[in-house]
């Protein structure tokens, strides 16, 4: 198939899945089958048709509709979006297996609505990945928010409703007040919002105003969970775990950092930010978020909340990489989107498996569980090492690129910061594994009444993604090469 039209088909794939799931709601097995088949076809389209084209230096493009003069809904795929699309669609397959196991294991209500919204959220994420200009990205960005809202409030309890309000309030509030203003301002200054290598703002904007415009973009993209707009992420942890796993560790938050990275590369351009230093303040904010979220994570007893703060900290790595504006740091940011996705989704899968299998959500209750759930905790251990950044796991590479980016930008204190934060990551992740394997189980619990029950659909996925963390260490080169081709496309004009 011609890559440009494939772009559209792959994009509408998840939307079609949503329709099919809604239609098949009465037959759960068929319904999950539809999700699985759909997810696999979408991934096949991304990996089989789009990847070869982008790999060869192609930039498939499709203009859909010009809905206002100068504002076109357009799709264009470049390496960074390619990587994001691969991660989101690939992990969607694994997550749909896991979600089926999780929801059935817990006898959740409204399962059809869950899978419909889930597919729509993936639709939004792919739209963000494929967006050819800022206004298109904004449209899909909002689509993600709206489609994930029913997932966050899935439980329907008072706590879920309250969390839903925070979620919608922060994400929509910042995006309408700041991000949309930034888009309108960009359109006003540059006459376009098309993503262009080297940026579109050079020479069009007073350098005094640049930091402000960047601030509107960075703070408007609350999905990146930069402080002070990070509160929605811990709040969203009331959602069922598959949502936390794929959406709040991969699709939603990565859409956020992806947006910031994309804005830095394609709206501002590296040269402009390097020469004016307009992103220096963002480095400071990201560094602050990175450390303080890690410290907060140390004190969380609820496993999912701890993971959420860890995510905030890890997302700040990506924003920091983007704000350093060197090619290495940006490649590092792109790679970290991948490695953190695999690591964090594994951790959430494990958290959910523990919840379904042993009905435990607090770390202090997990003593001695490691022996009873060896596969789950082994996967947790491997993924933790990847998040911390220890070879031979994927996370080591992204941190390597980020660190060398900091060195290139001559920000040596940041190297120390990376060290400290890795130590903090050890501090908030390793005790979970340690307590599970080495502390004796609490005997006062009536454990025999609740025998450990692990559905295979909840055990296999984390093992697979943990294996993915290992594999990433050995196959990082092609991904880094792909990201590098943003600036030097193979065989094509830049």
């Amino acid at each position: 198939m011609d890559p440009s039209s494939a772009l559209l088909w792959v994009l509408v794939g998840p939307a079609l899945v949503a329709v099919a799931v809604a239609a098949l709601g009465r037959w759960p097995n068929l319904r999950e089958g539809a999700t699985l088949v759909g997810a696999s076809s979408v991934f096949a389209g991304v990996a089989g048709v789009l990847l070869p084209s982008v790999w060869a230096g192609g930039r498939p493009r499709l203009d859909l509709v010009e809905f206002l003069p100068g504002l076109t809904l357009a799709l264009e795929l470049e390496p960074l979006g390619m990587v994001f699309a691969l991660v989101a669609s690939g992990l969607w397959i694994i997550t749909s297996v896991y979600a089926a196991g999780y929801l059935r294991g817990k006898n959740e209500s409204h399962q059809t609505r869950f899978f419909v919204c889930f597919a729509l959220a993936i639709f939004g994420a792919l739209g963000v990945a494929f967006a050819g200009n800022m206004i298109t990205l904004f449209v899909f960005y909002e689509a993600i928010t709206l489609s994930t809202f029913p997932l966050v409030t899935h439980a329907g309890t008072e706590a879920a409703k309250r969390a839903g309000r925070v979620y919608l309030g922060v994400l929509m509030g910042t995006s309408i007040a700041f991000l949309l203003l930034a888009v309108a301002w960009t359109q006003h200054l540059a006459g376009t919002t098309e993503f262009t290598v080297g940026g579109i703002l050079n020479g069009r904007v007073d350098s005094q105003l640049l930091p402000w415009l960047l601030a509107l973009y960075a703070l408007g993209t609350a999905k990146a969970a930069l402080m002070p707009f990070h509160r929605w992420l811990p709040a969203a942890m009331v959602a069922p775990t598959p949502v936390s796993a794929l959406l709040h560790a991969v699709a939603v938050v990565k859409a956020g950092v992806f947006t910031i990275t994309k804005v830095v590369i394609y709206i501002f351009g590296l040269d402009l930010l390097q020469t004016t230093g307009a992103s220096t303040w963002l480095q400071a904010l990201a560094a602050f978020t990175l450390i303080s979220a890690a410290i907060v994570a140390l004190s969380q007893d609820n496993l999912k909340r701890r993971l959420a703060y860890s995510t905030i900290s890890q997302l700040a790595y990506i924003v920091l990489g983007a704000s350093l504006v060197t090619t290495s740091s940006l490649v590092g940011a792109g790679l970290h989107i991948v490695t953190h996705a695999f690591g964090k989704i594994t951790l959430f899968f494990c958290a959910g498996a523990i919840y379904v299998g042993a009905h435990k959500s607090r770390i202090s209750e997990m003593h001695g569980l490691g022996v009873k759930m060896p596969w789950t905790f082994a996967a947790f251990f491997v993924a933790s090492l990847s998040i911390i950044g220890i070879p031979p796991l994927g996370g080591a590479w992204s941190k390597w690129f980020l660190a060398s980016g900091a060195a290139e930008a001559e920000r040596l204190p940041l190297l120390a910061l990376y060290m400290v934060s890795s130590l903090l990551a050890i501090g908030y992740l390793m005790p979970v594994v340690g307590k599970a394997f080495f502390l004796p189980p609490d005997d006062n619990e009536h454990d025999d009444e609740h025998p450990i029950h692990e559905p295979w659909m909840c055990v296999l996925p984390p093992v697979l993604t943990a294996a993915g963390c290992v594999a990433l260490f050995f196959f990082m080169d092609p991904i880094a090469g792909l990201l590098g081709s943003i600036w030097t496309p193979p065989g094509g004009a830049p």
Partner: protein
């Protein structure tokens, strides 16, 4: 059409537009049968809609239609003058009349004593006459005359509301509306005193020629106050929430989309076409008053909506806020800003009348529009509730809905004038819209319906027009060539001064 009759009709379209409903209103009274009257009224409104479509085509081709009533040439005779702007307004008024009236029969029969329905249809047609006349009139005095026709019909329609408080609401509106009308009449009188003419084009030329003094300023102020009352710009719009809340449901849907919109058009036409942008903005700086008022209306209206427990009244407060957007566009005095104001006139008419029709559907089945009565509407009336969500998204201004288009132009207009705080305020106020829309959505979907309530959807005769209006407000968010094109053309014409 080449036959003599066809030619005759074609030449007299501007007059037919106004006269048809005017003639049919007394016929409705004579018929006295509610279904026949309804049928006649629907036929007339659809005919006026067809006429306004035809007029728009002619204006697109020729740019202007000047029609001399009875063959008396302007500036002495009565002129109907169809330009891009009011062709657009005529289209909205007649289109909304047609759709709303088609949907209204079941709702009216539920809410109003059946033996008085024919009077309501007559009043409806008279109101449409007045509104179409206001939009089409080429001289200032007839704007006032038609304004009074439409206002009197409106008071009668509101007073027919099912609740007793409809009477006090109608009376309050009557007082305010009369004060507003009087201010406009004062303004017109002063203008006549200064220039000796009433024809709008003539007024414009003569005002440019003379040195504008205090009399002209007073005339401008009178017109602004009068139109502000009629279009419900806060703080002069306090009559609106009660009038909208207690009027029959379908009447509210009609008024919300037409009465305030035509009043806005009158304000724009007086400011730009009689006084001219130079006089109004460069000399008298009306933007220094209008813009703050518009911003206050945007926020105050939305804030009041957030704390409201009756959805109909919530939507009425939201109208106050949305009217602020339109006036803001007018006060920016640039092509982009004015385009935003005019396109919002169109878009808001679609979505607000759609949302009020949703409430008419809910009131038809449930008998109340209070939030507490609408619990679990997502389960009880799934289509109705989903339509509300779609309309609500358009109201917030989510991209690819009509609401986004208007807001984009307002933000762009503000940025072009280097008023970035205004741009930020426009966006912040749409956050308030998120809150009041979502408050309703939560009640629809997160609260369980009362025990005894079953699933009972509104009749299709009401649902289809409702879905049509909301669907249109989504359609015009994606395919904007038509609306934005006409709005921008109108804005240029209004700003361009002499035609």
């Amino acid at each position: 059409m080449s036959s003599p009759l066809g030619e005759l009709i074609r030449e007299n379209l501007p007059a037919l537009q106004v006269i048809l409903p005017m003639i049919m209103a007394p016929v409705c009274v004579l018929v006295r049968h509610r279904t026949v009257a309804w049928f006649l009224a629907v036929a007339v409104t659809w005919t006026t809609f067809a006429i306004s479509l035809a007029l728009l085509q002619i204006v697109r081709a020729h740019g202007l239609i000047s029609y001399a009533m009875g063959g008396w040439e302007a500036p002495w005779g009565i002129e109907l003058r169809i330009e891009p702007v009011n062709a657009f307004v005529l289209l909205i008024v007649s289109g909304i009349s047609a759709v709303v009236l088609s949907a209204a029969r079941r709702s009216f029969e539920e809410e109003i004593p059946r033996d008085r329905l024919y009077l309501l249809y007559a009043a409806f047609l008279l109101c449409e006459t007045g509104l179409l006349g206001m939009a089409g009139a080429g001289d200032a005095f007839n704007v006032f005359v038609f304004l009074e026709i439409s206002s009197l019909a409106t008071y009668a329609m509101i007073a027919m509301g099912p609740h007793r408080r409809a009477l006090t609401s109608a009376f309050r509106y009557l007082v305010m509306g009369t004060v507003g009308g009087t201010f406009i009449l004062f303004g017109i009188g002063l203008l006549y005193m200064v220039t000796g003419t009433l024809n709008i084009e003539d007024l414009h030329h003569r005002l440019q020629a003379i040195d504008a003094d205090r009399t002209v300023l007073v005339a401008l102020v009178c017109v602004l106050i009068g139109t502000s009352i009629k279009l419900a710009l806060l703080p002069l719009g306090a009559w609106l929430p009660n009038a909208y809340t207690f009027a029959p449901s379908a009447v509210t849907a009609f008024l919300a989309a037409t009465a305030t919109k035509v009043a806005f058009y009158v304000m724009a036409r007086f400011v730009y076409r009689i006084f001219g942008a130079d006089l109004a903005f460069e000399r008298f700086h009306i933007d220094s008053v209008l813009m703050p008022l518009a911003l206050i209306a945007m926020f105050l209206g939305a804030a009041l909506a957030i704390f409201e427990r009756d959805v109909k009244r919530l939507l009425a407060y939201s109208s106050l806020s949305q009217i602020g957007y339109m006036v803001l566009g007018l006060s920016l005095a640039s092509v982009t800003g004015l385009t935003g104001g005019i396109v919002h006139l169109f878009n808001h008419a679609l979505m607000k009348s759609g949302l009020f029709l949703v409430m008419a559907c809910a009131a038809y089945r449930i008998g109340s529009t209070r939030l507490s009565a609408l619990r679990g509407l997502g389960k009880r009336m799934p289509i109705t509730a989903a339509t509300f969500v779609a309309g609500g998204l358009a109201m917030i201004g989510v991209p690819l809905t009509a609401g986004f288009v208007s807001k984009w132009y307002l933000v762009k207009g503000a940025l072009e004038n280097d008023l970035w705080p205004v741009a930020l305020l426009v966006l912040l106020s749409s956050l308030l819209a998120v809150i009041y829309v979502w408050k309703v959505v939560e009640v629809f979907y997160f609260q369980e319906p009362p025990e005894e309530a079953g699933r009972q959807e509104a009749p299709w005769s009401m649902l289809l027009p409702t879905m049509f209006l909301i669907g249109a407000s989504l359609y015009f968010g994606i395919f904007t060539d038509g609306t934005v094109g006409i709005a921008e053309w109108s804005a240029r014409e209004l700003l361009g001064g002499a035609p």
